[in-house]
């Protein structure tokens, strides 16, 4: 059972990886999401544009639908492990992060932020970077960010807390 920091009213961050029948909470790997990263200013794709030099402004073709660009976002996670018998804190921390990354590399996945109650499908892992860490004999912790890309910014998804699944809203 990984160590989980005692955070009052912590809202889990769920990921349902490709091939998983249920979503999992990052705390299952001892990771707690430190930020609420979802952008609120979605950007649309560039419409077809005519620039008439003898007229002000631009003329754009705006169809019945504006289409959103895909976007990347970054989530900061905090993980901490404590030393136990036969197991050093750093070993446990690496194991938990590797398990987490294994899930992220399982292709496309869905995410759900229960704090903002917003999620996406067609999300893929981009990269991670370590921002801070400390390793002692008694404990180890790491603050790192994970960058993901949302390829489907338009489809709404929801988290079903009963059967623990993230599904697209019809």
């Amino acid at each position: 059972m990984p160590y989980i920091p005692a955070i009052r009213d912590y809202k889990p961050f769920y990921i349902q990886a490709n091939g998983d029948v249920t979503a999992w909470d990052t705390t299952d790997y001892g990771l707690v999401a430190q930020t609420q990263p979802f952008p609120c200013n979605f950007e649309v794709k560039e419409p077809y544009k005519n620039t008439w030099f003898d007229e002000h402004g631009d003329e754009e073709y705006i169809g019945a639908t504006m289409y959103l660009k895909g976007f990347e976002y970054t989530v900061k996670f905090f993980v901490k492990t404590l030393a136990t018998v036969g197991s050093s804190p750093i070993e446990k921390l690496n194991s938990q992060i590797d398990s987490f990354m294994g899930k992220l590399l399982q292709g496309e996945f869905k995410i759900w932020d229960s704090w903002q109650e917003r999620g996406y499908q067609s999300v893929r892992y981009v990269k991670q970077s370590i921002e801070d860490r400390d390793v002692t004999d008694e404990y180890a912790w790491m603050l790192f960010s994970v960058t993901m890309k949302v390829n489907d910014p338009a489809t709404e998804v929801s988290y079903n807390s009963t059967n623990h699944t993230i599904t697209a809203t019809a």
């Binding site: 003898d54 007229e55 754009e60 073709y61 169809g63």
Partner: protein, 1120 residues
């Protein structure tokens, strides 16, 4: 951005992406996926397809998918394991083509459609002489041969497609076409080269008279149909920019040296002209007319200078472009036609025009050639060629076979009183060939019987005419029942000799002999079988043709080769040349009879012309095969005519070459395309509008003609665009590239082809080389046009035909629209073909005998009631009873009772509303016979009045309007009221010697010889002139001479004057020699003594003078 799916040949989706469409004029349309990255291997194989929809069906308002297929496996690169990477497999340039790609794959073999007497070899080398239409059939034959399961139509553009009459004529012109080992695409390029600018377009359309679309190649279809609407710069107008460049900068010319070919030219023709350096110049080719050459002064005389035989552009163009000389040869090489002295397309009128006088021996007769438009280069008449040209017996004869079915089943009648009669029941006619002989073989393979119990004998005869002597007789035998038996009869060889064209008749007849012929009797025949014949004729080595008066004697012109030849340009011998053997003038018809040597086509082992490939003269609905004379020095008149033709062509070329040819590269507004549902198709034309850059200014670069508020294209495209303003040009879309993946919507790149190069009137008559503008709308026409969108096109060709260019547009008129009723099109495809197609007609299935009845707001068809009383609409049926209605009737006896008969315009009125019962004969009324009135019969004897047909009139009385009893009618119709003598004494005109006088007989007696005129009356005063002689004593109270007249004359003297105390008042003068005698005294004048001499009349008697008063003399005046 639109995605399109590539399917496998079986229909399985393989890939979805955004392709780029490239449509090119005269090339297969291509759809390309430039790079496909796939995590898996995709089996892109030939047959994979995409249904691409950028072609809009205007009729059904739907996108029409056009299928593009993969024809070759694309390049693929594998760079990762299957399903490990999105770009594990990379396909470069996956190209799919529309069906016209098959033109490139299909070899052009020498195939034709059906057995239509067009020779074909099935091999890849084709040399033919025909029009584009013939080649189209060959192309289709190749496609059908290679793709038997596909529907292909290869055709030429028609006027219905918008093709001009010039274009159609150009494509109909037979030209030599030779290719070897090419595919259809290359062959079509060859067509484009030989028939200038005759390109092709591919369409997937429903053929005429069919229901389903087919892959269609329209040759000559380039640029005919305008793409939708117009494009102009600016927001909402379709163009983001327009780039204009000069496409012909290297071809511009302002001075042209033009030469024709040397064909039919005497080598030193120009050396005989009065030109500078006439002995030195060496000009083999036709030149522009000498009169057009510049001159050089030699010895004070301006002589045409061959070095200055050129045409210059107008001064404004020369100033603008400077001197840019170019030399062109109109000798058939390159794009330019061959121009040389020829009778090609010459007319009788043109021949006459070459003559300085109608007394020229070769001036076409005005009595023979009443129409000057008759073409002299068309065959007038031909002699018959009887053989097929194929090698026959001994390679010298030809054989033709004839077969017919014999069926003589029925009865025949033996006339009364005859004991022998011949009954003919089969007749065939054969014509002796040019050689004057033929051999005929006949075989009557007959059977059956003749039932005739009264015949004592019966023969079957085979009879031949033309000096064949006695018929071949076969005596018939009888069977057991007495019936006469018919068998088979054969005559193997009947030689005939005669003259060419003479006919020989072969008959088969029965001859019946009877013993008695008192009455007519019938008998029955039942003869059936086949009659066959074979004619062997010696092949003629020559054939004859008649041609019209060509203006010169072929015999008098020098041959420029081994033989003077005649070559045919049309007909079944088109492209073949024949040596002329003899030429004879036919005075009666003012024509020429040519004896021409037949020639053998070695590749076919066949002689031409022949029965299957004859030369045709003027026949019904056929104007005769066209020909030209080759290898003959043409007379000067024809050289001059050719020079004029060259001049016109050179001028046309100069007009074309001395102006810049603009090329436009429009940048299309994709947003406009989407919002206006536009499409741009390659091979069709695109119309640009702009007031500046698309501006031809004053030149003809883009062939614009200002007209009213808009501009009318006058180029050879003959397209007219009605527009409210702006300059307009239209050009053929060479390429259009549609990118589906560059932006959110499809983006377009278009290249417009340069204006088509002129064909230099190849399709026009040789005498009408000069270009004539054909689109001259009156300003009223353009000003009153209400083209609100500015995109209503129609074409007007030089024959005056107007065709709507938008295929599915309507034509509305607010007033009358009428036509002659005969023209192109037909079929009713554009409107009501049947009565039931009209809005107020509901007669979907009319049948015979029905009529239209208007009921409840529509016309319906009902059967005419034929029971009871009715009048049929056709035929003749007598009407029983009285026919009539209110106000009129015609009784059974023909008595008509009509309220009036009125003939509008008016010859006859019988009554009208105001004058019931009157007959009004108005204007000129002609009566063929007599006119009668009154009486009891048609005889004039008892008529009240009558006028006979000879004009004699008889009336009971005649009164004149306004006449009174004091006047009477004269013969001239005038009325005379003069009072004339109503009674008189008897007057009897004398006769005989007293003619001209009359005598008066009164109670007092008879007076003879009284002049009728100038009578002297017994009272009153009259003047009497002339000499009057009175034979007796005349008594008068006074005789008063008028004026100073004499009493008597020297020749008519008074003898005695008796007076009674008569007094003489005034002077009495006497002549000097006169005397006065008083008794015996004579008083006279003594001229010697100037004294009064008184003497006695009796000599010797003394006469004294005494006086009662004074006597004075000698100047002493007496006094009282």
């Amino acid at each position: 951005m639109s995605k399109f799916t590539i399917y496998s040949a079986s229909g399985t989706p393989l890939y979805e992406g955004t392709p780029t469409y490239t449509g090119s004029y005269r090339k297969p349309g291509m759809l390309e996926f430039r790079e496909i990255n796939s995590p898996e291997y995709i089996d892109f194989a030939p047959g994979c397809y995409v249904d691409y929809t950028r072609v809009h069906d205007e009729v059904n308002d739907v996108e029409v998918p056009r299928r593009f297929k993969i024809y070759s496996v694309p390049q693929v690169k594998k760079q990762a394991r299957n399903y490990t990477y999105g770009g594990a497999f990379v396909y470069q340039s996956v190209q799919l083509y529309d069906a016209s790609k098959e033109l490139e794959l299909c070899p052009f073999r020498d195939l034709v459609k059906g057995d239509n007497r067009v020779h074909f070899s099935t091999q890849p080398s084709i040399t033919t002489f025909e029009g584009v239409d013939g080649l189209a059939r060959r192309f289709q034959a190749c496609l059908e041969d290679m793709y038997p399961n596909e529907r292909w139509v290869v055709r030429t553009a028609t006027e219905n497609d918008g093709a001009s009459a010039d274009l159609v004529a150009l494509m109909n012109e037979a030209r030599e076409f030779s290719v070897s080992g090419v595919n259809l695409l290359e062959a079509l390029d060859k067509v484009f080269e030989i028939w200038p600018d005759v390109g092709w377009v591919y369409r997937y359309e429903v053929p005429e008279n069919e229901d389903y679309p087919a892959n269609t190649i329209i040759i000559g279809g380039g640029g005919l149909n305008p793409n939708q609407g117009t494009y102009a710069y600016g927001k909402g107008n379709g163009l983001k920019s327009i780039t204009r460049t000069v496409a012909n900068a290297d071809e511009l010319a302002t001075r042209i040296f033009a030469y024709g070919s040397s064909r039919n030219m005497l080598p030193r023709w120009y050396n005989d002209q009065n030109i500078k350096d006439a002995d030195s110049v060496d000009i083999q080719n036709l030149m522009i007319p000498v009169s057009e050459w510049g001159t050089t002064t030699v010895g004070g005389v301006d002589l045409p200078d061959a070095a200055k035989a050129y045409l210059d552009a107008d001064s404004a163009t020369m100033t603008r472009l400077g001197l840019r000389p170019k030399t062109y040869y109109f000798d058939g090489t390159g794009d330019l036609p061959e121009i040389y002295p020829t009778i090609r397309e010459m007319t009788i009128a043109a021949v006459r025009a070459t003559k300085s006088s109608s007394s020229d021996p070769y001036y076409p007769s005005t009595s023979v050639y009443t129409s000057g438009s008759a073409r002299v280069d068309k065959v007038l008449s031909v002699g018959t060629v009887f053989d097929s040209g194929l090698a026959g017996e001994n390679g010298k004869s030809s054989v033709s076979n004839d077969s017919t079915v014999v069926s003589q089943v029925g009865t025949m009648t033996m006339p009364a009183g005859e004991s022998m009669k011949q009954f003919d029941f089969l007749t065939r006619t054969y014509t002796i060939g040019e050689s004057g002989s033929m051999v005929l073989s006949v075989n009557a393979d007959l059977g059956g019987t003749v039932v005739c119990d009264f015949a004592r004998a019966m023969n079957l005869l085979i009879i031949t005419s033309a000096d064949m002597g006695t018929p071949t007789t076969y005596e018939l035998e009888q069977d057991a029942l007495g019936n006469w038996l018919i068998g088979s009869y054969n005559i193997p060889s009947l030689p005939f000799t005669g003259t060419s064209g003479q006919t020989v008749t072969v008959k088969i007849a029965l001859v019946v002999y009877t013993t008695s012929g008192d009455s007519a009797r019938t008998f029955t025949t039942n003869i059936t079988g086949d009659f066959t014949s074979e004619v062997t004729r010696k092949r003629a080595t020559t054939f004859k043709i008649g041609i019209r008066q060509i203006g010169f004697d072929i015999n008098a012109q020098a041959a420029l080769g081994d033989n003077k030849t005649i070559a045919f340009r049309s007909g079944k011998c088109a492209g073949r040349s024949f040596a002329i053997k003899t030429c004879t003038y036919v005075q009666a018809t003012d024509s020429w009879s040519l004896e021409v040597i037949r020639s053998q086509d070695d590749s076919l082992s066949q002689w031409f012309p022949n029965t299957d490939y004859p030369v045709r003269g003027v026949e019904t609905n056929y104007g005769g095969d066209e020909f030209v004379l080759l290898d003959i020095a043409m007379p000067d008149e024809y050289v001059l005519a050719a020079e004029m033709k060259l001049l016109n062509a050179a001028q046309e070329l100069l007009d074309d070459a001395s102006v810049e040819r603009w090329q436009y590269n429009p940048e299309i507004d994709a947003k406009f395309m989407v919002e206006n549902d536009r499409e741009i198709l390659p091979g069709e034309s695109m119309t640009l509008m702009d007031g500046q850059i698309v501006d031809g200014s004053s030149d003809n670069a883009i062939h614009l003609l200002q007209h009213g508020g808009g501009y009318v294209l006058t180029s050879q495209e003959q397209r007219i665009l009605l527009s409210s303003s702006g300059y307009i040009t239209s050009a053929l879309v060479d390429t259009v590239v549609i990118s589906e993946g560059e932006a959110a919507i499809p983006t377009y790149k278009v290249t417009l082809l340069d204006r088509k190069r002129k064909s230099f009137s190849e399709a026009k008559g040789a005498d009408s080389i000069s270009s004539t503008p054909v689109t001259k709308l009156s300003s009223t026409t353009t000003n009153t046009a209400t083209a609100t969108k500015g995109d209503t096109y129609f074409t007007l060709d030089e024959n005056g035909n107007v065709t709507l260019k938008e295929q599915y547009q309507n034509l509305w008129v607010s007033g009358w629209m009428a036509a002659g009723g005969v023209g192109t099109g037909g079929g009713g495809g554009g409107g009501a073909s049947y009565l039931n197609d009209l809005n107020d007609v509901n007669a979907p299935s009319p049948s015979n005998g029905q009529a239209l009845v208007y009921r409840s707001g529509e016309w319906v068809n009902e059967t005419i009631q034929v029971s009871g009383n009715y009048i049929p609409l056709s035929g003749s049926t007598a009407i029983t009873g009285t026919l009539g209605a209110s106000g009129w009737s015609i009784t059974t006896g023909g008595a008509a009772s009509l309220s009036s008969i009125t003939r509008s315009g008016a010859i006859l009125y019988i009554g009208n509303t105001n004058n019931q019962g009157y007959v009004w004969l108005r204007e000129d009324t002609y009566i063929g016979g007599a006119m009668l009135m009154g009486g009891t019969s048609t005889s004039s004897a008892n008529a009240l009045w009558s006028i006979t047909s000879a004009g004699a009139a008889t009336f009971a009385s005649v009164a004149v309007n306004g006449g009174t009893s004091s006047g009477f009618l004269k013969a001239d119709g005038s009325v005379d009221t003069t009072t004339y003598l109503t009674s008189h004494q008897s007057v009897t005109l004398a006769t005989g010697t007293n003619s001209g006088t009359m005598k008066l007989t009164t109670a007092a007696g008879t007076t003879d010889n009284i002049a009728v005129k100038n009578c002297v009356t017994t009272d009153g005063t009259q003047t009497i002139s002339g000499t009057k002689t009175f034979s007796a004593t005349t008594t008068a109270a006074n005789i008063i001479p008028g004026g100073t007249n004499d009493l008597g004359s020297s020749s008519s003297r008074w003898s005695n004057i008796y007076g009674s105390n008569a007094n003489l008042t005034g002077n009495l003068s006497m002549a000097q020699a006169s005397t006065i005698t008083i008794g015996p005294i004579t008083i006279s004048y003594d001229s010697v003594n100037k004294a009064l001499h008184i003497s006695g009349t009796d000599n010797g008697t003394t006469i004294g003078l005494y006086c009662d008063g004074f006597v004075s003399a000698g100047g002493v005046q007496s006094n009282s």
